[in-house]
Amino acid sequence: MIPLNRIRNFSIVAHIDHGKSTLADRLIQLTGTVQERDMKAQLLDAMDIERERGITIKANTVRIEYPAKDGETYILNLIDTPGHVDFAYEVSRSMRAVEGSLLVVDATQGVEAQTLANVYTAIDADHEIVPVLNKIDLPAAEPERVAEQIEDVIGIDASDACLISAKTGIGIPDVLEAIVKRLPPPHGGDPDAPLKAMLVDSWYDPYLGVVVLIRVMDGTIRKGDNIRMMQTGAKYGVDKLGVFRPAMQDVKELGPGEIGFFTGSIKQVRDTKVGDTITTEKKGCETPLPGFKPSVPVVFCGLFPVDSNEFEDLRDAIEKLALNDASFSYEMETSAALGFGFRCGFLGLLHLEVIRDRIEREYNIELITTAPSVIYHLYMKDGEKIDLHNPADMPDMSKVDHIEEPRIKATIMVPDDYLGDVLKLCQDRRGLQLDLTYVGGRAMAVYDLPLNEVVFDFYDRLKSVTKGYASFDYQMEGYREDNLVKMQILVNDEPVDALSMMVHRDRAEMRGRAMCEKLKDLIPRHMFKIPIQAAIGGKVIARETLSALRKDVTAKCYGGDATRKKKLLEKQKAGKKKMRQFGKVEIPQEAFISALKMDS
């Protein structure tokens, strides 16, 4: 068993592109953990999507042996946490599994909103924090200014920050020494106490089944042990026990302070809950670790195959993905407009995009994604409370007493040149300003915003009004009542279910008008004129009229043309059959895809 004082467990907190993965690669490389020839960039980001987007979705870990200058060899366990707000709960659990953090800030950019949220999570977990200023080799680097900013904004001492370039390797040995000298060893921990280990993350491996990443708090876990998950009550035998270097390496036992993995013929990731407490089946510990909560989806949307023949393929893909992602929920949905599909729940917008990308890319299914929605709390006049996931399921408004919607606390950091546009955007989206401060040339605005306004196209608008310079992060802030209504879209007086949405009464006209205008361009002209309306209940709030088709005639048609011209008309007629029929109106599928696009 390794003495606690020679273990250091840590995570790295950084904004996207500030160099977290590159630093991790350097630490692994410099300590000889991986042979030079096996190195590839961003070792810890396993999925293509993670590498491409520069984000981490699953927690990863690596055990590094480091012979320090004091002559002792230390075991350093790095947990690479998901950095995105969608995975805030997973981040908080990973943080609880370690005692310290490296705060990596790009010396040419400074602190970003996402960094803030994660560093506060680390502070909440009582971490020691070592500031690391990266990219100091670049001419634009301003280490002093950024160090000052860290002290001002975050309130931690940055006077002895490590100055590094993860890319060139400058300063990496100092980082290793700082980990040993400045981060604390694991607290307490009795190897002979009943086993108490935290489930940090889990994922599916095609050869081993579910792999469970754990941090041992107390006691010892051994190969062959029968263990119990205290929250779910599930029991498993430990078939394989090991550590990541970063490849799997078997060990006989893991003691207090150690981080490693086990497998035990667990079939579904769904059976493992992040934050659960693992103990032995017999003589287990009495109380589970605090802070466990099951993950709850907050953003919903419909996923439909563009080609309705691919519905079964989509079902298969969604089921497979759900096996490996306990936080992703789904149920079957039918839409008159889009046919058969699934209503899916996600932890946030990024989670939605990742799942959608994986279905399209790994399963090769083209998808229509309906406008994202959130869960509304409906308080009915008869005292019942309903969670509304899909605007199409909205009951009769006369039976609803009031509606509550989820709110978020958003932190936006932006160069002050763009501040006016950002404030206007937040105001337009029904935001309430909570705080506005300046740090150097950057402003930090904190807003209370309705989540439904954020899931619509807030990110894209924010990016566009700030030319990409703003950073944004949020946390859920609970529910609040507001004047919310269901807006329906009627085409030729027929409601189109896939286009209904919940909106704030004050924003309904604007959204309704925008949708009607868009549909007017997307629906082909028919032989009759078609009213396109947005309505709340029976009241029309926006209207456009698609005028009747004026010209569709073949100018020349003589004897020699008959065969070809008739075939052309038959082909066009067959094409119309592929459209979705709403009363007498045929709407092409592309119209739905374009109308529902989030970025427009």
Partner: protein, 394 residues
């Protein structure tokens, strides 16, 4: 005295209503126009003696297959049939005269380019027997003629129209409108001028961008600019009806206008879904044999066609059209003319086509009219005829 057999021919022709015609395709042009998707070819030299012989032998073969018919029309189309030597025309007409009985008032049309070279040939062509010309004037604006790739100019066209009127009993000319950058007022001026030129038949086509043409390629590449949108095209069409109606040249088909009695009898055969023999490269025919309607199609490549014709037949294929397809063709062609179609004939071929519910809906929109026996398109419906046909097809 009628034999039983010929009596049946008369009956068959009765429902055909359109009479019986001969179409001769001359596939050669001096230059290919960028908008044209017809079967036309530019070659350095044509052996007209050989072509005359091949066309005549095809006419004789077709005549043997259709004994007892009375020929009401002959049409030389192309390509540019005005490039045919008068002798070539004469050889083909001689073969037709020997093959069939001709109606007393037979209409013999030839499509001609209004260039000075061709105008000089009009006399000879008329002497060969042609009594009607259809001139491809296309525009009365020099700049537009150049854009359309035409080899003549407006002055030549006007001379050709004058010479044609002096030479032939009947003269028609074509104009293409809804051209690039053309305004409604531009067209009003141009059409008014055309109507003052004293012809009793005009074919007025909206420019259509066809795939596989030079314009089609430019359009696909996004480089064909200034084409009118749907609303302007519709306005131009409506203006055309208005301007032609006043001097007494109403539309008797979507794009064809004539003084009553001056309609092209040949083209009416197509729209009335009558019988016609098609001769020449890429030509199509529809001929009723023993209660079956046969479609024939000639080889498209001139070299391939002439070899095949010399070996026995220029047809690439001959097939029997089933009743459903007959009904579809009849519907599509017949609704182009104001008299419409006979519903009994249509539903006799295919009871599924043009269902009552679809007719009633279109009637409600004011796009079609219906009597006990006939179905036709209203003037309002003409502009959306394709949509009407699509709604009525099974």
């Amino acid at each position: 005295m009628h034999s039983g057999n010929s009596w049946r021919v008369v009956l068959t022709e009765n429902w055909q209503r359109g009479g019986f015609g001969l179409y001769v395709h001359w596939p050669f042009c001096a230059a290919k126009c960028p908008y044209c998707d017809f079967n036309s070819h530019v070659v350095p030299a044509v052996d007209q003696t050989r072509w005359a012989r091949a066309l005549a032998s095809e006419v004789r073969r077709a005549a043997e297959e259709t004994p007892g018919r009375v020929l009401s029309s002959i049409f030389f189309g192309g390509g540019t049939p005005s490039l045919m030597l008068p002798e070539t025309v004469a050889v083909v007409l001689d073969a037709a005269r020997q093959g069939w009985v001709w109606a007393n008032d037979i209409e013999i049309t030839l499509e001609a380019n209004p260039s000075s070279v061709e105008a000089e040939r009009f006399r000879g062509i008329a002497e060969a027997g042609v009594n009607r010309v259809s001139l491809g004037v296309q525009s009365l604006r020099d700049a537009d003629l150049r854009r359309l790739g035409r080899l003549h100019d407006v002055a030549e066209a006007k001379t050709a129209i004058r010479v044609a009127r002096e030479t032939f009993q009947r003269v028609s000319f074509d104009l293409i409108y809804a051209r690039q950058d053309q305004t409604l007022e531009d067209w009003r001026t141009e059409l008014t001028e055309a109507l003052s030129m004293g012809v009793d038949h005009l074919s007025l086509y909206q420019l259509t961008i066809e795939q596989g043409t030079a314009f089609g390629d430019r359009f696909n590449a996004g480089r064909l600019r200034g084409l009118p949108g749907e609303d302007l095209s519709a306005d131009m069409y409506e203006l055309t009806q208005e301007l032609c109606g006043a001097p007494g040249l109403p539309a008797y088909e979507i794009s064809n206008h004539a003084r009553p009695g001056a309609e092209s009898r040949h083209n009416l055969i197509y729209w009335r879904y009558g019988d016609w023999v098609g001769i020449g490269p890429g030509a199509h025919g529809r001929v009723t044999h023993a209660h079956q309607r046969r479609a024939n199609e000639g080889w498209k490549q001139p070299a391939k066609w002439i070899e095949a014709a010399e070996a026995g037949t220029g047809d690439r294929q001959v097939s029997v059209i089933d009743p459903q397809n007959m009904a579809g063709e009849y519907l599509m062609m017949g609704l182009r003319i104001p008299e419409g179609i006979d519903l009994g004939v249509l539903h006799g071929w295919d009871p599924q086509i043009a269902p009552e519910s679809a007719i009633r809906e279109l009637e409600g929109l004011g796009l079609v009219w219906k009597t006990e026996t006939a179905l036709g398109v209203t003037p309002e419906g003409r502009l959306v005829l394709n949509s009407i046909v699509k709604a009525l097809l099974p």
